[in-house]
Amino acid sequence: MKGFAFGQYYPARSVLHRMDPRAKVICAVAYIVASFLCKNTFSFLLLLVSAFALILISRIPMKVVLRSIKALIFIMAFTAVLNIFWIVDTSEGAAPLVDFWVIKIYAKGLYHAAFILVRILAMVIGTGLFLTYTTTPIALTDALESLLRPLAKIKVPVHAFAMMMTIALRFIPTIMEETEKIMSAQKARGADFTTGSLAKRAKALIPIIVPLFASAFRRADELATAMECRCYHGGEGRTKLRVLKYHGRDAFALIFVALFIGGIVAINIFGRKYGWLYTM
């Protein structure tokens, strides 16, 4: 249960940590777009280099970042294998590298597999470094609230959503701790969660789920009362302790990411002219 994605904030002193969370959200989205725009060897190389450059900039130990990737190794391996065996090169003069029984492996398949791996890697590293690692959950919800504010014009309760998200994030560790406690307590009464048929195991969860929900509702009730006592009445007229403010570094980061996307598009166009750059 440890190492949960939202608990990953890693305190360090870096430009990425100091950036405005709104700018980081925009950068993260732009980075995902960039990873999908990549088309050829050179642009994917650039993407890979940029991902590792981000790790260096964030001053988060490489080990910590790689540990979070370890969790995705299965899905990455699966996609890679699928690509290697699935892709059939129908272009002229393309001979399979390996041709054994029903297995035919083409160079194109290998390239595709590598590209997809780099894309997943870059997306995970990019969003992780822009968002979860360098931004506290509270800053993140503040940013989302601010970015989604235009939607309030069409009556979307943006503040309420942001508050809900803040509360949900805040209570994840609490509820996890509670789950562990309840599990221990029921185990002490002889509950068994690990053996028996699927139906039996599903039934064995009732002694956990019922008290967990009961306590979640109790907590919600107490929280509501506490908020009421402090005169919470929704977002209207509410000021913030930490007012979000764009700085020079945010503008710089946004321009840099825009240039990065531009660069990748340029490489794609450039690559089409020169056949030696392998294109997807």
Binding site: K181, A185, A188, V210
Partner: protein
């Protein structure tokens, strides 16, 4: 096995000494046939990470059969960690837990059976209630043991009586009860398994004095009537002094001292030195003694203090009378 503990005075040299990681630590509160014996237990949280904390440090301890033993210590002294080892909810990295002389982890697959023999009531147990009726909730443990309906009914009724759950609550939803009632239902749920050892982690936490008294009275009554070995974790010396036979004092992940009440409270000064409060009566006697009154050390009940004071006064009176006559 019950009343033959007089030979089992704790070894004074062993008490509070810095044995460190010596291969074998003298066993505190040693007895011949302990119900539970802890041997050289070391327990770490987050071992191998920078956040490593040693929660138990070379703990060796005997729990006497049939007695009511109190475990006392500050928050973070390792007492809750200790009790979770007793029924195999967690396993110590080093050391053994012996129940009636057998290692509880001898057959790891059978650890479930150990949990029926060592019943653990965790902190704030009222939050684990889940069944539709109080009866069904108390019956959860016995039902998991695979007992017959008849046997279950008998045990539930018995446990409810010991824990002080009135019969008219049996068909109510546990969610409709008051905090104190829920607590008693949860305790009954463990008692109904008829464990050989009953362990309660802060059973009276958050209850008012009346509620505390009822719970402790019930537990003591249960201990005396069933002969079941009972362990209570608490941080209230007053409760310990009032209800327990033996007391185990924990501080900084170690057992500081262990022994029967008389022995522990005769060392009240040491308890205070580690920042534990001692019963008010003990404190008063201490002050009187410091003021020059010949009060005996280690008094922990109002009755005993009263007796001692009476003895001193009557003696003083006798002396004065004698003086006048002369």
């Amino acid at each position: 096995m019950k009343k033959k503990d007089k030979i089992s005075r704790p070894n004074p040299q062993a008490v509070g000494t810095e044995t460190g990681t010596a291969p074998s630590v003298p066993i505190m509160n040693q007895t011949e046939n302990p119900k539970i014996r802890l041997e050289n237990i070391n327990y770490y949280y987050g071992k191998g990470t920078p956040f490593e904390v040693k929660a138990l440090d070379s703990v060796s301890l005997d729990i006497h059969a049939g007695k009511l033993t109190g475990i006392i210590g500050h928050t973070g002294s390792g007492k809750s960690t200790l009790v979770q080892l007793l029924n195999g909810l967690s396993r110590a990295g080093e050391g053994r837990v012996l129940l009636d002389g057998t290692d509880i982890w001898a057959k790891p697959k059978d650890i479930g059976r150990i949990r029926y023999r060592v019943g653990l009531v965790m902190q704030y147990p009222e939050y684990q209630l889940f069944e539709e009726t109080v009866f069904a909730d108390i019956a959860f443990g016995p039902r998991n043991m695979g007992l017959s309906e008849e046997e279950i009914r008998e045990r539930v009724v018995e446990a409810a009586a010991f824990a002080g759950v009135p019969a008219d609550l049996m068909d109510k939803s546990p969610f409709d009860l008051s905090g104190g009632q829920k607590r008693r239902v949860a305790i009954a749920g463990i008692m109904a398994m008829r464990p050989e050892v009953l362990v309660l982690d802060e059973p009276a936490a958050g209850l008012d004095p009346q509620g505390r008294h009822t719970i402790f009275q019930g537990i003591r009554h249960y201990n005396r009537n069933t002969g079941c070995t009972v362990l209570i974790v608490s941080h209230s010396m007053e409760d310990m002094a009032q209800y327990c036979d033996d007391v185990v004092v924990m501080a900084h992940a170690k057992v500081l001292m262990a022994g029967d009440r008389d022995y522990i409270f005769s060392r009240a000064d040491e308890l205070e030195a580690v920042g534990l409060d001692i019963p008010q009566v003990t404190k008063l006697c201490q002050l009187l003694r410091r003021g020059g009154m010949p009060m005996p050390a280690g008094l922990y009940t109002v009755e005993a203090a009263e007796e001692a004071l009476e003895a001193i006064f009557s003696q003083a009176k006798g002396q004065r009378k004698g003086g006048k006559q002369a």
